[in-house]
Structures are given as C-alpha cells and as structure tokens.
Amino acid sequence: MNPRPLTVVLIVPTGVGASIGGFAGDALPVARAIAQISDTLITHPNVLNGAQLYWPIPNALYVEGYALDKFAAGCWGLQPVHQNRIGLILDSAIEPNLQLRHLQAADAARATLGLNITDCVLTDRPLQVELRISESGASWGTIGNPDSLLRAAEKLITQARVEAIAVVARFPDDEGSLALENYRRGKGVDPLAGAEAVISHLIVRTFKIPCAHAPALSALPLDPHLSPRSAAEEIGYTFLPCVLAGLGKAPQFVTPTVGQASCLSQFVTPTVGQASCLSQVWGGQDARTQVWGGQDARTQVWGGQDAHPTREKFYANRRDFESQGLWADRVDAVVIPATACGGSAILSLSARSSVQIIAVGDNKTQMQATPEKLGIKALQVNSYLEAIGVLVALRAGISPASLGADISSLRCLSD
C-alpha cells in the first residue's frame, strides 16, 4: 500500500488552440490514461467534455477552471460527493425548438444515466454572447447580460436548492467562417471556448458551486472531412450530456465564509512580504493583517472560542479543516502543455516544492509561455506517453533522470 496517494492535476487550457485537448474533449484519452496511474486526478471540463461523449472516471475530480485556480492557490478545498442535485439554466435567446432539444437531453440524462437534474430556469434576458480572438490567438468573449445569468443561478440555488449548475447559452452560429472551418478540420482555436469560460467562471466565483457550460448552436451541414478530434460535437443536437455527467459527481468546494481567512497557503508559509491570497488584497484588506495581526482568523475558522491561538493549535485545527476535503498541498504533479504554463494555477502550484510540473512539448498551443521563460522549474517531456512514464516513476519513488542513459555525477555544494 502506498502511504501517500498520488494526486495529479491535468490542465489543458481552453481556447488556446491546444493540438491535443483543444477540440471536442480530445484530451479525454490522456485523462483516462493518467487516472489509471493516479489515486486522484484533478482536471477540468475542457479536458473531460466531449459533447455527446464522456467517460466516467471514478477517481477523477471535475473542477471548473475558476475553482481550479482557487484550489491551486490554496484558497479552496475540494470535497468529493456521491451525487449533486443539478439545475439547468437555458439562455432565453435559444429558439424554442433548440430549447426543447436541451430539455430532452436533460430528461435523457435523468432517465438513462440516473442523474439528479431537478429544475430548469430560463434567463430573464438574452445573455448576448459575443466572440473574439485576442492578439495572442486565444479565443475570448463577453456576455451582454451577466446579471441575468446570475439571477437565474440564484433562483436555482435559493428556490430549488441545487448543488451544481449547467448553463446552456446561445452562441452565434459561425457557419462559413474560417475559424469554424479550421476547427472542423482539427486545426486552429476553438472560437467558443474563451466565452464559455467566462460564463462558468462567473457562476463559480459568485456562488462557489460547481458549474459547467454547453453552447447551443444550430446543427451544421454534414462534412465528410470532419476531423476525428472535432467529431464528438457533430453526432447530436446538443453538447449537454457530458456537462451533466461531469456535474453529477463534481466535488463541492470547501471555502471560508465571510470574515475568515480565505487562503490556507498563508498559514503554511507565513513569510513576511508574501501576499498569496489576492482576493482579500483586492478588497482593500490585506489578508496577512487578519491572519498574523491581532484579529487572527484562525480562531473563527478552526479554533472556535479560542481568542489566543498558538502555532500548535493552528496546526491541529488545520488538520481538522483539511479533513473536510482535498487541498493543494496534496498535489504531487501537474501535467500541462509546455507553451501554456502562464495560467494562475500553474504559477500557484509551481511555488510548492513538492509539486512536479511536467511540461508536454508536443501539445502545441497558441501561447508562448514556457517554463524557461517564466522561471518555473519543470520536467520537459515530448509526449503524454512520456509524461505518464514520469508519473509511474514518481509513484514508485524513482527519479526520472535515473531512467535515462546519461546520469551526471553527484553535485557537491561549495561553501
């Protein structure tokens, strides 16, 4: 028995043109393979969602990107569940027939998969999604009525008491565009992905519950040259089944409540001058003053009535808190495309010396943020097959370097 479970994070950023995982759930085989050699795999909807296709991975945690960033920063924990009560938000811009297709997809997931999808809300205004491509080549977008989205989510949470939310927004049909043509050929950038991330980030940020998005689009004409990487999105009327399946067992988030310290990592590394929890800094209050000054948040979070916390009590209480979920200090490795190391989660996790970052070279993206340029210590590999070999070595306690032909001599430190 391995005394420490191997926890691996797999990230393929959405909307950056990843050659593996930038299309219709086409990093799912990578996730399935890594899950085989991990005790826990933490990954996100862009990796696991294949429209009509999905694959239940018992030891995988389906974590939306905003929550993944918070988890990586040590601010949120992940609490696995047996089942979530799911609510569905439909954009009122969706035509009636297409709405019905989505309702039937949800009913199918209830009847055929046994998912607990309880209620649906139509937004009170069209969400008005607009798509853009940034200077770097990443897709992004805006929604014209974010408040309407949040009102619908609040209604589901307060009236139907849902624990996870699936959103379907009407996206612009882009038929005939070069971006769509390329996407269908398995090239370029998913033009929808950046705007999808905004939608789910908004809900997770506001309500701190699992959320994922599926776009509503008109069916495209049959294309005999469709890439296998994009094909999962053209075998049905909706992209919703994978989202519902993912949310059915998505972990809940362990988050501090108002007035409590929101970043566990600060307790672990209370270095003067470090501010690793920006959410509180943004609010005009530096979290460090709350934690290490006179108003120690630990007494509120973990210490109950203790007005004079000690370091020993803090560590004891922290263990209690961690027993409520999985936290970033349990992460052993992160697998990421080599050119996409500039995201929040990677920068956070790279600060933890116990985390092995594995940068995969042949998953090309539009980004140019490599570990070397960012000063991040990472193990560079060519392929996911090689990354999986590294994880096997890590699990076995074998240095990956010792598996190569050339082994350098032991370095002696000088005074």
Binding site: S134, T142, V198, S276, L278, W282, G343, S344, A351, A369
Partner: protein, 63 residues
C-alpha cells in the same frame, strides 16, 4: 456588472508566486480578475504579456 478583456504587461519577478501576485494587482486596476494567463514573455525587457478578463460591478446610481 460587465466583463472586460484586458491586455497588460507586467514586470517579471524572481519567483512565479511573486509574478502571480503582480499580475493580479495589475488587473485589479481594471476590475476583479476572473481569468488570466501569461501568453508570452519578452525576455529582453523582462516583461510578461498578460491577457485576461475582469469583472466590473455597476456603480450605484447617484441622484
């Protein structure tokens, strides 16, 4: 509430953790950061090129 796309340059820092903080502080000038990434690094100028979205709450109406 509105969402905005922001492109910015941030000085590279000694550690990734410091860079993370610097990026969020820079984006905070425009709103609450929702999603961001370093897209490239200008090694000569020691600048990180950042793209991201921020959230801007509507200002309360004044009478």
């Amino acid at each position: 509430m509105t969402t905005h796309f922001i492109s910015a340059e941030v000085d590279l820092h000694e550690t990734a953790e410091q860079l993370h903080s610097a990026i969020e502080i820079e984006l905070q000038k425009y709103g609450e950061p929702l999603r961001w990434a370093v897209t490239d690094v200008d090694v000569d100028r020691q600048k990180a090129v950042v793209e991201g979205y921020v959230l801007v709450e509507a200002s309360p109406a004044t009478s």
